[in-house]
Symmetry: C2
Subunit: 353 residues, 2 copies
């Protein structure tokens, strides 16, 4: 899943350059990392990428090994359920009972080997029948920005890993509730990563999202004909935006949970990026091609295009310099980056969006 | 006087681009401002500029109206006394008894009209005889970075302005002393601006700086011959660096003081620039071609090359972006800019110096 605008990473993220196409966390872009991470498990011809028209060109440029026909283009974003449905149709054509994994393109995972192990166990479980397997992340803080999954009774153990039923799925909780979850234990962050047989998820969509399922049937019938894009455009025009979590996962009874302890972050903001970045002895994480001088400068994130960046007497800053813009934000305030984007929109300064 | 390296304004000031050649305080560079300020008093052909070889080219480009032969080049900087001596020789050749004003090229003066009035009164007084007139700035804070001039008895009044004798000249004082000066009154900052007859200053140099005066005589004899540059180079090789304040003003008995209340600043640092800059209602002074967005951002100085600069949740920052560098410095810490320059020198990163 390679959607989203990624306004929270302004000025690096832009309308034409959302987060998953950015190299904010290393040499490679997030989507390149995502594809590389699974290359031992899934051959390139079996990787489908769902994205928007305006990002498809750059995406294909970044992923020359993905066959162009595997890049599925949604005319408009309708949240995750339609995106997953569209991908499921394409999987079904070739492998009607095969297992598919749903992975966001813009997450960071530090332990790729463990990730692949978890993913392959999830696939082994999913292959056995009508299960919707979700990967839950052991929480490290009472984060209010994520949904939580409550672990139920043990279902099965595979290669020493427990797979549980799900007792409940909770939407983003208030802080006090999140604290209780952490204290109580048995709650996991909803990572937005799922593994299931293609027939299982389509069956669940039919049950819980019948209107969407109808649209999918329409698209399925047109697939491979020269009316395909026309029908997709027509259906997407009236598909209701809905997330797979709200539309399916919260309602389904056949959800299983596997624990994913592989250094996960959805890097939802510059603050989150600092948290997971390697830092020097002063707490600074500088991506400046080595061009960084700190004089009494601490706990800051610096991204630049290669300029010499000097910080003097500052602490807890986020500094991001691009070809045409410069952001300086107090750490802990990066949710307000959206406000800057809003102001630029209001001022109609499109060149900076 | 257009000397100095101006490392304190890194990254704008560079080895090849010292402070007086920078447009840090407006549309024009400081030296352009300095020349423009006096254009109603002094025709361009009577303006002499003393500078170093490596800056002369850029300087002449910035001041196309100054005749190239009026740009006097010192082979090495030897502080202000030799610089003033060299200029005095050139004035003397054409006007042996005329008044000359000595002005640093890198000061800011907000009230140019008042400045010209003070300067012309100082010239009127100096014309009358053997006086060394210094312009003293009424202090607004117990600054320890300047010398102070103590007002003596009233000497003369011209067009309603009092000119005093000087009771004492004090070098940069400790803070407690500076506070006493302010409380006591009658003390002025030494602005480094002087007015005197060319014969008066050369006579004073002969008396207090005989070795320098000897060098000047050597240069004077070679002036206009094809050995001029050779002799200048030879003399400068062994001239002792010394300031006019220490070498002459502190010792001479014929110093007069005129009060200069015309919005003066020698803008010795980025901090000083913020102090004298026009600021918006949040206290921000942004030179960003209008490309500035502040979200809860206060009391900061921002200079950029035209990039969109967004500040979020920060206070008291100095932000300076150039083609190849970016400085972010806590206000009050800009004296440490020199440390950055030192580090870059130590790392031999010449391209940023």
């Amino acid at each position: 899943m390679a959607g989203g605008r990624g306004t929270r990473f302004w000025p690096k993220s832009r309308e034409r350059m959302p987060k998953h196409l950015l190299d904010i966390a290393g040499e490679r872009t997030l989507i390149q990392e995502t594809v590389t991470r699974i290359e031992t498990l899934v051959p390139a011809e079996n990787i489908l990428i769902v994205t928007g028209l305006s990002h498809a060109g750059e995406l294909m440029k970044q992923l020359p090994n993905i066959p162009p026909e595997n890049v599925l283009i949604e005319p408009v974003g309708r949240n995750t359920a339609p995106c997953i449905g569209l991908a499921a149709l394409h999987v079904k054509r070739k492998h009607p009972e095969e297992v598919m994994a749903v992975l966001p393109a813009d997450h960071i995972i530090t332990d790729a080997r463990e990730f692949c192990e978890v993913l392959s166990i999830a696939a082994e479980v999913a292959r056995q029948g009508n299960y919707l397997v979700t990967i839950g992340i052991p929480p490290t803080r009472p984060e209010v920005g994520y949904g939580y999954i409550e672990r139920g009774t043990l279902k099965i153990s595979v290669r020493g890993r427990d797979v549980h039923e799900v007792a409940s799925i909770r939407e983003k909780p208030p802080l006090e509730t999140a604290k209780t979850f952490l204290k109580q234990g048995g709650f996991y962050w909803n990572s937005g990563m799922f593994v299931w047989r293609v027939d299982a998820i389509l069956r669940a969509m039919e049950k819980f999202l019948p209107a969407l399922h109808q649209s999918m049937i329409g698209i399925e019938e047109a697939m491979g004909t020269d009316r395909e894009q026309e029908i997709i455009d027509r259906e997407y025009a009236h598909i209701e935006p809905i997330s797979i979590d709200y539309g399916v996962m919260e309602k389904a009874k056949n959800v299983l949970l596997i624990r994913g302890d592989f250094g996960w972050s959805d890097v939802g903001s510059w603050d989150a990026l600092w948290e997971i970045s390697g830092r020097d002895e002063d707490g600074n994480a500088a991506s400046t091609c080595g061009h960084f001088v700190g004089v009494d400068a601490k706990d800051s994130l610096v991204h630049s295009t290669g300029k010499m960046v000097a910080l003097i007497g500052v602490k807890d800053l986020i500094v991001v310099e691009t070809e045409d813009s410069l952001l300086i934000c107090k750490r802990g305030r990066s949710q307000d980056v959206k406000k800057v984007v809003d102001i630029l929109e209001k001022k109609n300064m499109k060149e900076f969006l």
